[in-house]
């Protein structure tokens, strides 16, 4: 195969190399990770997950144990300082990670699943199913979550974190369901949905595989939102002192810090780490969200690159509406380049 030599050769090395289709498909699947932001998010999340599992083992101290180092600033001995009882805050954070991660993820996943199930089904099915599911989500929308959590928690003497997660999950799906339902309404008349129906897909499959992927954007932001909400709820419950979770979580730490007016006492180290740890968890989720772009819209799969370099060293951005031009900036028009291009072409061909 003779290639017409042009500037492209310099720009795109290995242009002729054939990529195996299967390899291509495989790469596609993992391209997600290639996104630096998503990778960072995943890494942070992985660290949290790890902490959730091994936190209690690697904690240097018993988080409950009192010591003589009362209310000390961070030091080599106590990385995050100590509480008014001399407890090691670093250990409390490590031990508390599990509860936060577990509650956040369980509640987030549960709420997301419910909102998708109910919202999308209602939107897609329409009619009586829609009416009743909408009524259900409206009712849940109306029941204020925090009081309900307080109430249910008080019905059970010893509300474990699983219960808290369940309650948060069960009360926070309605919003997402409403938004998803509305979007589904506009998706369900799309031709490709009709086409899938005409192919004979079952309803649940249409919902799950034709409509759902196109809702990924909303679901993803909703998921990030609910996980953050769930973590916040758990922490808030502990912070305002109503959850009866006995184990440590970051809200408990903040509860103690606030109860002891840590900020007013100047004990910032008591207050700051837990807050930042929570915020970092949320950020990790948002970062992962960047990775879903390419799932949301396969058209964005540009090899993870939004910028490319041209031969003459310019950087151009891949963007809709303005296709990048890789050729070096041409001489100002009118130009008489065509003749010599043709010449070289011919030389090549005869060679």
């Amino acid at each position: 195969m003779t290639l017409s030599p042009s500037s492209i050769e310099q720009v795109i090395p290995g242009q002729g190399a054939m990529a195996q289709p299967s390899a291509r498909a495989r790469r596609r699947r993992f391209r997600f990770v290639a996104n630096a932001k998503a990778a960072t998010g995943l890494a942070i999340l992985a660290v949290y997950a790890l902490l959730a599992v091994i936190g209690p083992w690697i904690a240097p101290y018993d988080p409950d144990a009192r010591s003589v180092d009362v209310l000390q600033a961070p030091s080599a001995r106590h990385w995050f300082g100590t509480t008014h009882l001399g407890q090691d805050i670093f250990s409390q954070i490590l031990v508390g990670a599990r509860s936060v991660v577990v509650v956040g993820l369980i509640a987030g996943v549960l709420a997301t699943i419910l909102s998708v199930l109910i919202g999308v089904t209602a939107g897609y099915l329409g009619g009586a199913a829609d009416e009743s599911l909408s009524a259900l989500s409206n009712v849940f929308l109306v029941i204020p979550a925090l009081p309900l959590i307080i109430i249910v928690a008080s019905l059970v003497d010893q509300a474990g974190e699983l219960l808290v997660a369940l309650i948060i999950g069960l009360t926070s799906w309605a919003w997402g369901a409403r938004v998803l339902r509305a979007q589904t309404l506009s998706l369900r008349r799309r031709d490709y949905v009709e086409a899938a129906r005409a192919t004979g897909e079952r309803t649940w499959r249409i919902i799950g595989f034709e409509i759902l992927p196109n809702l990924t954007a909303i679901i993803a932001s909703g998921f990030v939102g609910t996980v953050i909400f769930a973590v916040m709820s758990e922490i808030t419950l502990a912070f305002i002192g109503i959850s009866s979770v006995s184990s440590w979580n970051w809200g408990t730490i903040l509860f103690w810090a606030q109860g002891q007016q840590a900020l007013a006492q100047g004990a910032w180290w008591w207050f700051v780490p837990a807050g930042l740890a929570i915020a970092l968890l949320g950020t990790a989720l948002a970062l992962i969200n960047f990775g879903i772009d390419e799932f949301v819209s396969p058209r964005l799969r540009t090899g993870g690159r939004t910028r490319i370099r041209t031969a003459d060293g310019r950087t151009v951005r891949m963007r809709v509406g303005f296709t990048p031009v890789l050729a070096p900036k041409a001489a100002p028009v009118p130009m008489q380049r065509s003749a010599d291009v043709r010449d070289t072409t011919r030389e090549d061909q005869t060679a």
């Binding site: 720009v11 296709t323 890789l326 028009v333 291009v341 043709r342």
Partner: protein
């Protein structure tokens, strides 16, 4: 009438960069003259749409223009290379000078805006001084031009049939009376009456306004009837280019010949349709030499090794060009 309005030189368009790049348009040279209708036909997937979008730089990622020039000659003023225009200049240039009707009209119309909004805002963007009433009147006139009653202005795209949407797009393309109109299969969803009516209108407008049309379609009979010149694409390249009647009467490239033997005729006796054996080439693994050679009934020695250049087949016939070793180019195409 014979001066150039759009000159495409050595245009190459890729999808993706680096190892994954697929070259969909290869080294295309094409010249559009003022007031002419240039038909572009060819294999499905041969890069016609890519060419059309590439030259206006509307190709969505991962498309990149990897080489060549697109020189636009305005009615007054010096020529400009469209590919080097700044975004702001490009925006001014678009639609006012070159408008484009996309393939797949449903997706070309914003589903949440009324037809009127979408028609009016293009006028407003380029003619900010126009009055609202004037714009509305113009929009109605445009719709009438394509045979849609004015009361459809308030419709949303999904309330229109496929053909109506296409007509709306055509109306929109004509709104600013540009110098070049690129139409990518604008009439696929239209019935022939409507098709004729619109093309008739288009021809009339062209006579009046002198714009050039790059007309992409598969309907060869329509092309022959409607365009002045026809270019045939195969595997990302132009393989033949000739005045419409000449091409129909005397195709030089075996692929063109094959095409002409593939379409049914409405009138006359039923004839045998031979078609073209074999299957379209894979852009990722183009055959060496002439891309058509594996399917070519007349393939011979050099075909599988050397790439034929597009050029006039004989000194006596400068109006047409072909890229085939059966009719080797006597000279590089020069216009």
């Amino acid at each position: 009438m014979n001066d150039k309005v759009l000159e495409i030189r050595g245009l190459c368009v890729d999808y993706g960069v680096g190892a994954e790049a697929v070259r969909a348009v290869r080294d295309v040279d094409l010249t559009l003259h003022r007031g002419e209708v240039l038909g572009l036909a060819g294999e499905s997937g041969s890069g016609k749409s890519t060419l059309a979008y590439g030259l206006t730089r509307l190709l969505p990622p991962p498309g990149v223009v990897s080489g060549g020039q697109v020189v636009y000659h305005p009615a007054d003023g010096p020529p400009v290379d469209v590919l080097t225009l700044s975004p702001a200049r490009l925006r001014e240039f678009r639609w006012a000078e070159t408008s484009i009707v996309f393939q797949g009209a449903m997706n070309s119309l914003n589903p949440v805006h009324k037809v009127s909004t979408q028609l009016l805002d293009v006028i407003r963007a380029h003619e900010p001084k126009s009055t609202a009433a004037g714009r509305l009147a113009r929009a109605k006139e445009l719709l009438r031009l394509v045979g849609i009653s004015a009361d459809r202005l308030d419709s949303y795209p999904h309330q229109l049939s496929g053909g109506m949407r296409q007509r709306v797009m055509i109306a929109m393309a004509l709104a600013l009376e540009p110098q070049v109109v690129i139409m990518d299969e604008p009439t696929t969803a239209l019935d022939v009456v409507m098709q004729r009516q619109i093309l008739g209108q288009l021809a009339e407008l062209r006579d009046r306004l002198g714009f050039a049309v790059l007309f992409i379609t598969h309907d060869l009979s329509l092309l022959v009837e409607f365009s002045d010149r026809i270019a045939i694409m195969y595997g990302g390249r132009i393989v033949e280019e000739a005045p419409a009647a000449r091409l129909y009467a005397e195709p030089l490239h075996p692929y063109t010949e094959g095409l002409l033997h593939s379409f049914p005729a409405l009138r006359g006796p039923r004839r045998e349709l031979t078609g073209i054996p074999g299957s379209p080439p894979d852009l990722r693994a183009m055959p060496s030499g002439c891309a058509f050679h594996p399917r070519c009934p007349k393939a011979f020695d050099p075909c599988d090794e050397r790439l034929p250049v597009l050029g006039p087949p004989g000194v006596d016939d400068p109006t047409r060009a072909v890229a085939c070793w059966l009719h080797p180019a006597v000279a590089p195409l020069s216009r």
